[in-house]
Symmetry: D3
Subunit: 66 residues, 6 copies
């Protein structure tokens, strides 16, 4: 019955990688807490680098500095 929300920047994550995240988080909840995978929900939000800030700057600005 757990609900997991994963927020990451929108930078070319593939459907396979998303499937791997969903499988991995679900397995973890089964292993650690014996949760029922059939009602374990995982939602991935991909966020534009303009909309994600860390250290007071957007990730877009951070990436351009490198």
């Amino acid at each position: 019955m757990p609900y997991v929300n994963i927020k990451i920047t929108d930078e070319g994550v593939t459907a396979e990688q998303k499937a791997e995240l969903i499988k991995g988080v679900t397995d973890l909840l089964v292993k650690v807490l014996d949760k029922n995978p059939q009602t374990t929900v995982v939602v991935i939000d991909e966020v534009s680098t303009d909309n994600w800030g860390i250290g007071g700057e957007t990730v877009t600005v951070k990436r351009n500095k490198k």
Copy 2:
């Protein structure tokens, strides 16, 4: 003053259906808790079926199995 977030898969939900969800949830909070509808906020997130997992699989994979 309540805040409600509804997350659903992005599968052709119409503007009319969204309006019906918003109206229905707001009415429910007025009825059950006597909340003020004028400050009741409802936000609907539509999530790609690649980004929604249940039972350790994406909804995309689940839909393709049927």
Copy 3:
């Protein structure tokens, strides 16, 4: 498969009222979008009036003004 999060102030909401909210939201998603109630998750967060702001003030301050 929808996930709904309801945030309300923590002001004496009863278990019966919470059950009524959960039933009402689930029924609404079945009616409007034909969702499967068995995998519809509703989570209610009760938030202290010190931690809820509207109009730039906490609800605690707003309540005391009345």
Copy 4:
């Protein structure tokens, strides 16, 4: 280490305005709570006016009434 999520309607917010929100929220957390800006995360979600409800109506409908 704080995490802040700002949800606004998707109505032409510029990259500069988003950067200003991220800077402003991060500075506020440093000033009020002495948080470390390097691990302060801010995520902005822009939501379609069809998907945002207040007063039981979508913002799309509200805007059209004006």
Copy 5:
């Protein structure tokens, strides 16, 4: 830089289990997406069984039926 929110029912989860979830999710994001663990944030919300609904019922009611 990812942010992960795990919501589970509040049913005696130990500090060790929470640490295991945090470690497991962080490792998964490093492995699948090569994310930096130092800025990967995981927040666990424990929700009262009265406040968690599935199938239109609270978990409290579901547990009592068994």
Copy 6:
């Protein structure tokens, strides 16, 4: 109409500091985006240090290392 959620660790934040955060975020949204403060909602979640992870560790463990 914006909705802002601030998540911080539960480490003795005072009601005055919370009020200052709420005022500051609301003012910021008025200044940057000309939002209406009367419908701007801010919710602060205080999270136990056992339930907050960064760098793959709980904040409790991090604090004890210092």
